[in-house]
Symmetry: C2
């Protein structure tokens, strides 16, 4: 293998492909990037068994292809070294079997590479029948729901994001069994078969980072045990989580007797202050009292003191209502809404709190209150 | 105690005084700030037994003093709460003994305070005979030497900065026994008695943070067991470390047979790349070879590979010279120099490397090489 390439082009592709590297040091080959140079261009491939990424640099973007070939480089070291080079062009050459020389006018580096035969064979095949979605929309639907996924591996299915696709609608939901976030968007084309799958949320976090630099459309190819996202010259494959995702539709009630519209900014800052005291206890319990045209927030920790905040409401509420919840849960929902006001929906002091916005009726957040008696 | 004060003024003073709070949770009173409201204004005092800070808000900067008094508040909670308030004015009132109410139009908070009698009596007396130094110069002399102080507590004296004051000159030195940084500056006035003391470097780090917001002169009052810095309305007291600081003058040789002038930026980036490979071993050994009009940097780690960098020199050197050192030590020295070139002085492959700049002859850095044979 031998080629000359612009440092900038190689770096951009490496930045994407390193997201498929293992963060553990257990199996050396999962810390490697396979560089496959062909007549048509160079493929860069990585896998950590959970995510696999394949990106392609077209021969038009390569200065010179002298000799095609394959080499398997230690991924992070290669990326860091290339990134730190200051020259415009770089020459990569396999000196002897499994030894890569990286040249620039002022420096060179010889890196020991892994055996190319050890690199796993990966399936990056695409389907005829796929869904196309705008990358910004895909980012949004993931970002607005992923926070509600479980961190703990107690119930693996809850660490994933549930993706339901029916006709031209995608519904994305997450729950850690204490709270739920769910959002619907429309896709550009219809698909024939309905999809219902669960994608590990940590994999989607990596996908979202790759989408940051792309404004193009994304193709989604769903298989039984994996999902492939195609973003221009890049293919991102994630495994799926087996199992049944809980049915959240039944938990989100259609009617709520008590509804208030409250200023997002005011509620956020009042809660932020109340949390200062509340954070001393684990649950961060805040007492939330609706009285006619105002809301009171209270936190009392006998050893430390108490805080009380008042927020005026625009509209008078019918009845007095009191509920307690974890301020962290409410703050998390507020981080995901935009606009001036948020709509809070209550039923009883033990029923979940539903958070909606005025301008985004396809987005629902919900969390359990705390019983204080 | 009762007063009305601008949030902004209180916050600025709290930002300084919290630097004297303990970071451990062992002795509650060392996590507290004492507020002492008198006719002339309010004193804010903190101590962690290592640092003590006293700052003063003049009555002119207080909206209204209704009732003088003393209260001892939990420092970080009080600071965080005040900082997060959105109102322009704040009322502080001792409701009942050791309970502080913080009011604003939309919120209030009652905070349990500590017993004022438990707060230690601290000595913030000043001397008639003190040294005055520009705050920027003081920051510079500390920042440029402190990195060489020991982190390990094996020899406590080496965790401090040695301050030697003679007539109108301050000399500041630090060493962890592998490297030395020393710098001299002139002070504005002469003192009668020579000073030779060692200040804990972590305390000086806090002092430097306070100096960030001040462009005024600093008074230094040196006692046997402590040093007091007076910065406008603020007094900062640090304990001193007992013991004899090693005599570094003898280690810094006056003559060096080999001297090269090298571009700081080029050397930094070449080392940065070399370190990528070298970091895999603990010492980060880099081989440094001077040959006529160029310098070669080499790092070889048999399992990983090797890197080689070339830097052209402006002036031809007389002889070929080879030395090995830790790239981290050299990078640390380069972070503290400015200008285009640095001067490296060598004697033998086992003698310390001296780093100087062309424009700052009162600043010397030195570190031990690594024996590779």
């Amino acid at each position: 293998m031998k080629l000359t390439i612009k440092k900038e082009i190689l770096t951009i592709h490496l930045e994407n492909v390193i997201k498929g590297l293992s963060t553990k040091n257990l199996i050396p080959i999962l810390n490697c990037i396979k560089l496959e140079l062909k007549e048509e261009g160079m493929y860069l491939i990585s896998t950590n068994n959970d995510i696999s990424i394949k990106t392609f640099i077209d021969q038009e973007d390569i200065e010179e292809i002298k000799e095609i070939g394959i080499i398997v480089v230690p991924g992070r070291l290669f990326y860091e070294y290339i990134r730190k080079l200051e020259d415009e062009f770089i020459i990569l050459e396999e000196l002897i079997e499994n030894k890569l020389r990286i040249y620039t006018p002022q420096a060179f580096s010889d890196i020991n590479c892994n055996d190319k035969n050890d690199f796993p064979n990966l399936d990056f095949n695409t389907k005829k029948n796929y869904i196309t979605v705008n990358s910004d929309l895909l980012k949004k639907i993931v970002n607005k729901t992923i926070y509600a996924a479980a961190v703990s591996e107690d119930r693996p299915i809850l660490t994933g994001l549930n993706l339901k696709i029916d006709k031209n609608e995608i519904k994305c939901s997450a729950t850690d069994s204490y709270r739920i976030a769910t959002k619907k968007i429309n896709v550009k084309n219809k698909i024939n078969e309905a999809v219902n799958c669960v994608i590990p949320s940590k994999n989607l976090n990596e996908l979202v980072k790759i989408l940051e630099n792309n404004v193009t459309d994304v193709e989604m190819h769903v298989y039984n045990n994996r999902i492939l996202f195609k973003i221009e010259n890049l293919k991102f494959v994630s495994r799926l989580i087996n199992g049944n995702f809980p049915s959240i539709e039944e938990i989100i009630r259609k009617e709520s007797p008590i509804s208030i519209k409250i200023n997002i900014n005011k509620l956020f800052h009042a809660l932020d202050r109340t949390t200062l005291l509340a954070r001393e206890e684990n649950k961060q319990t805040v007492n939330f009292i609706i009285e006619e045209k105002q809301v009171k927030l209270k936190a009392v920790i006998p050893e430390i003191g108490k805080v009380e905040e008042k927020i005026e409401l625009e509209e008078k509420t019918k009845e007095k209502f009191e509920i307690s919840f974890s301020s962290r849960y409410m703050l998390d929902t507020l981080k995901n809404v935009s606009g001036e006001n948020v709509v809070l929906l209550f039923s009883t002091p033990t029923a979940p709190i539903i958070v909606k916005t005025e301008d985004e009726d396809n987005y629902v957040q919900l969390f359990q209150p705390i019983r204080t008696y």
